[in-house]
């Protein structure tokens, strides 16, 4: 069960919009802090490997490994454009992408055998603690095929398919892709989504069935599935076991034989596609790119066409897998630039780099601005931490162009920020980093989506904050974002998933069997219904076997209302939510009941109400404390009593006053959590 759960844990995608590449780093850095999303990315030890002797500890023959290592050490040597192959690997989490990539690096001598054994395969905790790992974003390998040296560039795609914009940019930097499918698991929803992205980018796709050595392997059936579901010709598919080293050479050969070389455009003005970038505290932003046309030299003045910023390229180099400086990169090659760039927002994924003095006529297609789709309020539990929170958000933003925030004040929570995220995973990562790396204690309001509000005077406004929703009398209609969602599931769970989708206001579109035992369900439902615990529900209702993928399909009008919570007749703004009218009653009941449990009784009776406008739809009452008296101060010993009173006073201090009512922070948090669940 644990395995099955881990197999398919990548969270859903919550946006169709661009994604900052830096997020990948966000997500990969604290991997172990997100066990739910444990996506083991390629991790290579960053240390000098030169001079180390290869040791034959793999099951490759001695001479092979020496030969490979020799060619590996020549990997900086230039080859003609026709001998370059740029490819990525598409795989579902745990289908073996990391292992396969490791093996490719090992066989081509890019990483020494010994390092692989001793360092790379070490457990991640240790590596992370020492802070010595880097993520493989791209790796340049040298491979000699029929006595001709080739330069192979593996460009990593983000593990979380959530960041689909990023994936599409990574794929756009390649001419081909390996589609890796687990021989015992079959095709998963996110794999599917990425393959479609690859096909849109006209990539040559090489199907690879991995883990054929495992007892449960059914490679034939998986191949049939790939043919039926994706429509790929699997006659030349490769069966492999990355772990056992089976089929690796075949894969390398197929890359050379089947993936087309980049076009010969070295003479054109310089254009390069950014597929990743991250902020380095010492060097500024490091940009990873693929040269599409022309060439770039160290010291060139470069221009980022979308952001309009220009810099001098202080350092250019290749990733192999650690950064190695070179003097020049030309069309077809993959490398990095360091140019003292201050913020990743200046050099975003998808942007085109050109030469400042010999500008390209047009930028490369496909660039999109980051548009936050999910919003929530972040408030420090301790009001003193507000400046720290601001500083932390500013720092995170250096590395995360999609993170948006603006100050927000709330009667209950004090000062905080309303933050926009690309999706729930993005939100979770940011919160986690703020709490862990910046030691902040935060309260998060329920995530909300962006509503499109048509007012009676004909205006259209976008609204992401329930407390800013115009009064009912002022609005003509409200639209909410909808998503198209595709669920892949074993047929036993079809019923459970249909029930889930119906609960979430899903509109059934289509169902088809993709294999004898597996079906694909297509629904359209409001994004707001997905930002809660939809994915968790999906997993728990299918014992972890189902996978999903979605994309936003636009706005639709809905019967949405603002649900307010009143405590002792005082509106508690942070608890206001926008819900569909049909759900208002159940949500209102759940919230008032929860609050009744969580708010300590006061010296007077406290009504707790859920309202739509002025209409109360659910109501509870907290009875008054009748007695709280310490009867005796025996023998004048007041110290214990005083301690109790002090504790009681401290307890009040941790609460937020809503009018006369002291509401503990925990109550807010629990209710916000509940909102995430019931909405």
């Amino acid at each position: 069960m644990a395995m099955a759960y881990a197999m398919d844990l990548s969270p859903p995608t919550f946006f169709l919009s661009p994604t900052p590449s830096s997020l990948r780093r966000l997500s990969s850095f604290p991997v172990s802090t997100f066990p739910r999303h444990s996506n083991r990315r390629l991790q290579i030890l960053c240390q000098a490997t030169a001079g180390t002797q290869p040791q034959s500890q793999s099951n490759l023959s001695d001479s092979n490994s020496k030969l490979a290592a020799r060619s590996g050490q020549d990997r900086l040597l230039k080859v003609p454009i026709s001998k370059i192959r740029n490819f990525s690997i598409i795989a579902h989490i745990d289908h073996g992408k990391s292992t396969l990539a490791d093996k490719l690096l090992q066989v081509t001598g890019t990483v020494q055998n010994r390092d692989m054994k001793e360092q790379f395969l070490d457990n991640m905790d240790l590596e992370r603690e020492r802070g010595i790992t880097i993520k493989l974003q791209a790796a340049r390998m040298r491979y000699v095929y029929e006595d001709t040296p080739y330069c192979l560039n593996l460009i990593d795609t983000p593990g979380h398919v959530d960041f689909s914009y990023e994936v599409s940019r990574s794929l756009a930097a390649c001419e081909g892709a390996l589609l890796v499918v687990d021989a015992s698991q079959g095709v998963e929803a996110q794999t599917l989504a990425n393959v479609y992205l690859a096909l849109e980018n006209n990539l040559e796709i090489i199907p690879v069935v991995n883990k054929i050595d495992l007892p449960g392997a059914e490679p034939e059936q998986v191949l049939r599935e790939i043919e039926e579901v994706i429509g790929l010709d699997c006659s030349k598919a490769i069966l492999c076991s990355a772990k056992e080293g089976i089929g690796i050479t075949e894969i390398l050969n197929a890359i050379v034989e089947r993936i087309p070389p980049p076009p010969e455009t070295a003479e054109k003005p310089f254009r390069a596609l950014i597929f990743d970038s991250y902020y380095d505290a010492y060097r500024g932003v490091i940009v990873y790119f693929r040269v599409i046309d022309g060439k770039v030299k160290k010291g060139d003045r470069i221009l980022f066409m979308a952001s309009g910023k220009d810099y001098f390229a202080d350092e250019i180099g290749v990733l192999s897998p650690n950064q190695i400086q070179v003097d020049e990169l030309y069309a077809g090659e993959v490398g990095y630039i360091s140019a003292s760039i201050r913020s990743v927002a200046d050099a975003r994924v998808g942007d085109t780099i050109t030469n400042f003095s010999r500008k390209a006529e047009s930028s490369l297609p496909g660039y999109e601005e980051a548009t936050p789709m999910v919003f929530c309020g972040l408030f420090p539990v301790d009001a003193d931490q507000f400046p720290d929170l601001r500083d932390a958000l500013e720092k995170l933003q250096l590395n995360d162009a999609a993170l948006k925030f603006e100050p927000e004040t709330s009667s209950a929570m004090g000062f905080g920020f309303r933050c926009g995220f690309l999706g729930l995973l993005h939100m979770e990562i940011v919160q986690e980093r703020l709490e862990r790396e910046y030691n902040l204690n935060l309260i998060t309001t329920a995530p909300s989506v962006v509503y499109k509000v048509h007012t009676v005077n004909g205006d259209t406004t976008m609204c992401s904050n329930p407390s800013l929703l115009p009064q009912p009398g002022l609005r003509k209609s409200v639209e909410e974002p909808y998503v198209k969602i595709e669920l892949l599931t074993p047929k036993d769970y079809i019923g459970a998933l249909m029930e889930l989708a119906q609960d979430r206001r899903g509109e059934f579109k289509e169902m088809k069997y993709i294999a004898e035992n597996r079906a694909s369900l297509l629904y359209e439902l409001p994004l707001a219904e997905m930002v809660g615990d939809f994915f968790d529900q999906l997993k728990s209702r299918t014992k972890g076997y189902a996978s999903m993928e979605y994309s936003v399909i636009g706005y639709r009008e809905s019967d949405l209302i603002k649900l307010d919570i009143l405590i002792n007749a005082e509106l508690v703004e942070p608890l206001s939510t926008i819900v569909h009218r049909d759900k208002a009653y159940s949500v209102g009941r759940a919230l008032t009941q929860k609050l009744k449990e969580l708010i300590p009784r006061q010296m007077f009776k406290v009504p707790i109400q859920a309202c739509i406008g002025s209409k109360v739809i659910a109501s509870e009452a907290l009875s008054a404390i009748r007695k709280d008296v310490l009867a005796k101060c025996y023998g004048g010993d007041i110290s214990r009593k005083k301690k109790l009173l002090k504790k009681q006073a401290a307890g009040k201090k941790r609460m937020k006053a809503i009018g006369r009512v002291d509401v503990p922070q925990e109550a807010f948090m629990a209710v916000l959590k509940l909102e995430k669940e019931v909405l």
Partner: protein, 480 residues
């Protein structure tokens, strides 16, 4: 306004270390925004009150027959099997070496108590608490009183109270004690129902209660108090009313009514949860408190403190020392003293207490404060103690000692509770200031408040019933 964002009104202030000679002028500095220098030398009553030499002493005599089920005091259970049926005068407590040894230790402690005061006024009150002090043979009580007298001096009209339990004394013993100077008896009746006394593990029954009342009266003790406990397991309102009625009928000059506290580590604590059967519900329990207040007040008792009622002129002088935040000595196992600004609790275990006494004799133990006090601590002490009394918190003195700003903040935080009637606000004639007027005053400047509001007190019984909640609100003002 957010509590968490409000700026602290007090900053922690420590008076400069003083020589013992000077400690009583240690601090009287305002802790508000105005420059403190203006008042630096203006000693005020409140902050100096407790700094003088004590004139009260608490003496702990920890012996009991057995531990009651609700009790978590430092006591030493003697056991009662062999003697329970013997008449009081023939019991063996006279010769119990445990008692003799303890009293000798106690005497050593009193003798080793060196004060650091210029003057050494005679003691005005002595309180023998326990335990069951009435189990201690009069000749040992005499030894203690003699020691106190020779060490500190004893006013001829000193109030000397002793806690006595029914079934532990006879007329002769009481007379003997009275001959030694004991002039106030606090009788631990607790309830007038055998089943309740049994359920809480008392060593006596109702018949011993009546007997004891008779003895007290026959001996002519004018100043005597009866202890009752409300909210006992299985107690009903009818039983409680009966207890109160019978208490009133026996005409004590003072009644202490304690609401049962279920303490961790006691038998009750292990078995019962407050508010849950067989303990009365919170509502019932509040009803008990209100009933006591109305019945006793109806019978001519003044409800002068959360759990104390007295006929005119019979307030417990010793306990008033506590409520007024005045200093007092304490001797014996686990007892707590308050001298020189320091609240000090002695060890609760006999072995450690023995060592403490030895340390005291060597000069190694310190129980006397040197005047270094945290003003916040003093302020919270005063608040918590004053609000226990019907007199309430005297705002003028308090403002002089801790700043008018603090007074204003306290008024502000209490405003809703003046409105709800939990807190009573009084002018200097002790006339009630009505809530709308109070509201207006709070909106005004500090001076105006001072001119019109002199006392804040908890209303009897609604405010007293919620005293913890209300007092902790003021604590929040002192330490935001």
């Amino acid at each position: 306004m957010l509590r968490t964002t409000s700026s602290p009104i007090f900053s922690s202030f420590r008076g400069r270390p003083k020589t013992p000679r000077l400690i009583f002028k240690a601090f009287s500095v305002l802790l508000e925004d105005s420059p403190p220098s203006a008042r630096r030398n203006a000693s005020t009553n409140l902050t100096t009150l407790h700094q003088g030499p004590p004139t009260s002493a608490y003496v702990h005599l920890p012996f009991c027959r057995k531990r009651c089920h609700y009790c978590d005091f430092p006591i030493l259970a003697l056991g009662s099997s062999s003697v329970s049926n013997a008449p009081y005068e023939e019991r063996q407590e006279e010769d119990d070496p445990r008692i003799t040894n303890y009293v000798n230790l106690l005497v050593r402690e009193i003798n080793a108590t060196r004060t650091c005061f210029d003057t050494n006024p005679n003691l005005k009150t002595v309180f023998f608490g326990g335990g069951t002090p009435s189990l201690v043979p009069p000749k040992l009580v005499s030894l203690v009183l003699e020691t106190l007298s020779s060490r500190f001096g004893l006013c001829p009209d000193a109030e000397i109270s002793m806690e006595m339990d029914p079934g532990t004394f006879g007329g002769e013993k009481l007379k003997e004690l009275m001959g030694l100077g004991v002039n106030r008896v606090s009788l631990g009746v607790q309830a007038f129902q055998d089943e309740l006394l049994k359920a809480c593990g008392r060593a006596h029954g109702v018949s011993e209660v009546y007997e004891a009342i008779e003895i007290v009266k026959a001996c002519g003790v004018e100043n005597w108090s009866m202890d009752l406990i409300s909210s006992l397991p299985h107690q009903t309102l009818e039983m409680w009313e009966e207890s109160l009625r019978l208490a009133i009928e026996s005409q004590p000059s003072h009644v202490s009514v304690y609401d049962l506290q279920v303490e961790q580590g006691t038998k009750f604590g292990n078995v019962y949860t407050p508010g849950q059967s067989p303990l009365p519900s919170e509502t019932q329990s509040a009803e008990f408190y209100k009933t006591a207040s109305s019945m006793l007040r109806g019978a001519g008792y003044e409800h002068y403190e959360v759990s104390s009622y007295s006929k005119e002129g019979f307030k417990c002088k010793h306990n008033l020392i506590y409520w007024k935040n005045k200093p007092f000595y304490a001797f014996g196992l686990g007892s707590a003293s308050y001298v020189g600004g320091l609240r000090f609790s002695r060890p609760r275990r006999l072995k450690e207490y023995t060592k403490y006494v030895a340390d005291l004799e060597n000069g190694a133990a310190n129980w006397c404060g040197d005047g270094n006090v945290d003003l916040k601590d003093v302020a919270t002490d005063i608040i918590m103690l004053s609000f226990r009394t019907s007199k309430g918190l005297e705002l003028k003195e308090f403002g002089e000692a801790f700043g008018r700003k603090v007074v204003k903040s306290i008024c502000k935080v209490y405003e809703p509770y003046v409105e709800s009637g939990h807190i009573v606000c009084l002018d200097d004639m002790r006339k009630e200031v009505m809530s709308d007027e109070f509201k207006k005053l709070v909106g005004n400047d500090e001076k105006k408040i001072e001119d019109h509001v002199r006392y804040l007190r908890l209303r009897d019984p609604d405010g007293f019933l919620l005293s913890n909640e209300l007092i902790s609100l003021a604590f929040g003002v002192i330490s935001p």
